[in-house]
Amino acid sequence: MISITLNGREQSFDVEGDMPLLWLIREEAGLRGTKFGCGIAQCGACTVHIDGQAVRSCVYPAIAAQGKQVNTVETLGSKEMPHALQTAWLKHQVPQCGYCQSGMMMAAAALLKNTPNPSNDDIDAAMTNICRCGTYSRVKAAILDAAKEMSS
């Protein structure tokens, strides 16, 4: 059994230690906001937070999350209580197909937590997620906007 604190609730899962966290989250816990894109940590669609850091869950063994705090995109915010990033994402009309965007927003949230006022280079360095629709310029604009909002 693997015990993790998933979205604030301690839970145990009867899975192999080498099952990637992504599949535990999506199928064992039924949280499908975290997406599968490549399975080799290239695209970042599966980004979650482990102890506050952005992690690509498709290659992160479930056993390595034992005893840790795992937060998924479901905890980012809601329509009633949106995260500043979600507000900025709507303002800049960022998503196209939207499939990579939960991973994008989770990567951005971790960036802003560590670097509240990121430079262009900080954003480029942190945001290595793939968006096939090509929303990068809007992602960047929305992150800068959210950073301003959060620090004011």
């Binding site: 899975v15 192999e16 099952m19 990637p20 992504l22 599949w23 999506r26 199928e27 064992e28 039924g30 499908r32 906001g33 997406k35 599968f36 894109g37 490549c38 399975g39 080799i40 290239q42 695209c43 669609a45 995109v73 479901e74 915010g77 809601s78 329509k79 949106p82 979600q86 994402w89 709507l90 009309q93 960022v94 998503p95 196209q96 197909c97 939207g98 499939y99 990579c100 965007q101 939960s102 927003m105 954003i123 480029d124 360095a125 945001m127 290595t128 997620n129 793939i130 968006c131 096939r132 629709c133 090509g134 929303t135 990068y136 310029s137 809007r138 992602v139 960047k140």
Partner: protein, 733 residues
């Protein structure tokens, strides 16, 4: 293009209340069929377009869009058009995805798209025509999203008519029911006659009993409140707040999961599974099924299924494709170009020019196969409920997919329920057809076959590797070009030969004034599955033609924009966009002090003219694109913000192909497998983009694909100034 079909608006009471309107086209399929000399049989129906809007009793209007959402946001544009034509407030308009039934087919739209692409029918279009348009029953099974057609065909030419007719019916209702005067008009959801105001909701029950008017007028441009405005997309709140359910997110109770391994050779069946016992013993595995070219593993978790599928030891049967390679395909194409060719475009006589080796320019171009690489890999779910088969997937043609699933299952279409999901990217991958004889939605065949046998619900998810290696690819194309310059440096002939089947398409024809032109094609069936890849044939031909014209300018030692303009009439749309992009980018021809150069390209596709300038440098012999300027000219722009998003995204899609995209063929299969060897442009490499949208009163052009074609030649033309003229893609191979 304009649809030359005769269209009628039809309408009446909607089930459950309200007024429903749609448009039917009559007899118009004949044009394409006759041109293609396709025999029609048993054709006695004549309704082609059934695209509906519904005026509801609660004073709202529902747009029932036949177009599935894959990122393009067309649904929002459709509601903008209807809201303006029907004179509504924004909060009165609702968007719904039409169900996958024949009442909501849009085969006529797709027919229009194919008709546009094929001046003269290429073999693949004839193939589609035979399979799709042969009988109207098949045309009625189309519900296509593609060809950048949602706004320009469905919206502008169909829903706009239905909305205008609906507004007139509501006015007529006020006149006949309430004795309103002939000065009666509308005002944001109300019919108004002096001080009398009736909401649409009040009138709709009566309006539904009236004849659909033959005469109605479109709203004047001065009355538009939404067309031309950056209205927020309806689908974005649910995407930002995680409410969008993609196909891969579908779950039903008791669901099990399938993964597949392919034989590795296109067209070759799996011969043997060497380690079946080992696979069956793996945790969670329920079954292993050999299915022609693939083996499926069913397990209790998608990762366990995939882990088992990756552990399969399988061999392919010996097949004619077993030794196929990129080199052998290229050699075959080169030999074909030296053989018998078909003429696609001819002006004057290219043989009339006396050869002068000093003034002749020759070039050979090559573009590789490309996978679509949608972010959401191919997947489909299926389950039985009573005697009904349910299928859930994100597709660009839900009605076709439903009919296809029924055929695979050997069931009546009425017994198949199709759930169309939002798509994590489409780009042409999720349509039902290919240009070759291959079935691009075989993941639906696979899951349906598995559910028919095992009865429990199954979700099949392809790995990224399966997705990359079993696509219907953008065709690999070899092309050879030659031209000769006269004493003024102008071409006196232009000759090209490309491998491919898109002969009549305008994309292959240079837009420049040359007295003697011959554009030819060599075509044989493709051993590799080829299909519709965002912007289709425009992607390769813009690269060839716009690189070649630049080579001529280089030989003539004339600024490449000046050179192009000298070969275009002053009022030509290409010239207009070129002149605009010159201003936008502050055009400089030559290499800057910091080692950057600009390159240009222009191409019209899907009704929209696009001129692109790229600023490029070489860093460690690799191209680095710093800034891009794009001017589009496309008539009415319904939603400029969505248009910009599509143009920028399309450009990045094309830039990935220009710099990195290649699917190499080795031993009959694709070598590349995932994003490490099939890389996609990331944020750090994305250039700064400036876009200018030229607008006019003309019919809207498309936007979904038009950003793609021009970036590769623009980058190549800039690199030429830096001493590296790429004639083979990808550039940073």
């Amino acid at each position: 293009m304009s649809m030359t079909r005769r269209m009628f608006v039809i309408g009446g009471a909607a089930i459950g209340g309200g007024l429903a309107l749609g448009v039917i086209g009559v007899g118009t399929h004949l044009a394409l069929h006759d041109r293609l000399a396709v025999q029609r049989e048993g054709n006695n129906k004549d309704t082609l377009l059934n695209l509906w809007i519904r005026v509801n009793e609660d004073n709202t209007v529902t747009v029932l869009s036949p177009h599935t959402e894959m990122g393009q946001g067309a649904g929002t544009g459709l509601t903008q058009i209807v809201a303006d034509e029907l004179d509504l407030n924004w909060d009165q308009i609702k968007l719904e995805l039409a169900p996958p039934t024949t009442e909501f087919s849009n085969g006529g739209i797709f027919e229009g798209f194919v008709g546009e692409m094929v001046g003269k029918a290429p073999p693949w279009a004839e193939h589609i025509a035979r399979n799709a348009f042969n009988r109207l029953a098949d045309l009625l099974n189309m519900q296509m999203t593609g060809g950048s057609g949602s706004i320009r065909f469905t919206g502008w030419q169909v829903m706009r008519e239905a909305a205008a007719a609906a507004r007139q019916m509501l006015i007529n209702s006020a006149i006949s029911k309430h004795g309103a005067s002939t000065n009666t008009t509308t005002d944001a959801g109300f019919v108004v006659d002096g001080d009398n105001r009736w909401s649409y909701g009040e009138l709709v029950e009566h309006a539904a009993t009236l004849e659909v008017p033959e005469n109605y007028t479109h709203r004047a441009e001065s009355h538009r409140k939404f067309i031309g405005k950056a209205m927020p997309r309806h689908d974005l709140p649910e995407k930002v707040f995680n409410e969008t359910q993609y196909g891969i997110d579908r779950y039903v109770e008791g669901m099990r999961y399938a993964a597949i391994a392919h034989s590795g050779v296109f067209g070759a069946d799996v011969a043997n599974i060497d380690n079946l016992d080992e696979i069956n013993a793996m945790r969670g595995v329920f079954a292993v099924e050999k299915m022609g070219e693939s083996v499926a593993v069913i397990a209790d978790n998608p990762w366990r299924a995939e882990k088992a599928a990756k552990a399969l030891k399988i061999t392919a049967v010996t097949h004619e494709n077993s030794n196929l390679s990129s080199a052998s395909i290229e050699a075959f194409q080169r030999k074909s170009l030296q053989g018998e060719l078909s003429d696609a475009h001819t002006i004057g006589d290219v043989t009339s020019i006396k050869s002068d080796a000093n003034k002749t320019i020759e070039a050979e171009f090559w573009v590789p196969y490309l996978a679509h690489a949608t972010m959401e890999p191919m997947n489909a779910s299926a389950w039985m409920q009573g005697n009904k088969l349910h299928v859930a997937a994100g597709v660009q043609n839900p009605l076709y997919a439903r009919v296809h699933a029924a055929k695979v299952a050997g069931m009546d279409v009425d017994d198949v329920v199709f759930h169309a999901h939002s798509m994590g990217g489409g780009f042409g991958r999720r349509v039902g057809f290919s240009m070759s004889d291959d079935n691009p939605i075989m993941w639906i065949d696979e899951v349906v076959t598995l559910v028919k046998k095992h009865k429990f619900p199954i979700k099949l998810t392809w790995s990224r590797e399966a997705d990359t290696r079993q696509d219907v690819y953008r065709p690999a194309v070899l092309a050879s070009f030659s031209a000769q310059l006269d004493n003024n440096g102008k071409p006196n002939y232009w000759k090209s030969a490309s491998y491919g089947s898109e002969g009549g398409a305008p994309a292959s024809m240079p837009p420049y004034k040359v007295d003697n032109v011959k554009v030819q094609f060599a075509n044989q069936p493709s051993p590799i599955p080829v299909g519709f890849w965002r912007s289709v044939e425009n992607t390769q031909h813009a690269f060839f033609n716009e690189s070649f014209i630049d080579m001529l300018a280089e030989k003539a030692q004339i600024d490449p924009i000046e050179y192009r303009l000298s070969l275009l009439s002053k009022d030509d749309d290409h010239a207009k966009c070129l002149r605009e992009v010159v201003k936008l980018c502050n055009w400089q021809h030559g290499v800057s002090a910091d080692g950057k150069a600009m390159g240009v390209a222009v191409q019209k596709s899907f009704g929209t003219m696009v001129a692109t300038v790229a600023e490029v440098s070489l860093q460690n012999d690799k191209a680095r694109v710093h800034r891009v300027w794009i001017v589009t000219d496309s008539g009415v722009v319904v939603n400029p913000d969505s248009a910009r998003a599509q143009v920028e995204g399309g450009m990045l899609f094309g830039l990935t192909a220009a710099l990195y995209g290649r699917c190499d063929i080795e031993n009959g299969g694709v070598k590349q497998s995932n994003f490490h060897d099939y890389p996609i442009i990331k944020m750090t490499e994305a250039p700064i983009v400036q876009i200018k949208l030229l607008q006019s009163d003309n019919e809207p052009g498309g936007f979904g694909e038009v950003g793609v074609p021009t970036i590769a030649p623009a980058v190549a033309n800039a690199l030429a100034l830096l001493g590296k003229r790429p004639t083979r893609l990808p550039i940073n191979a």
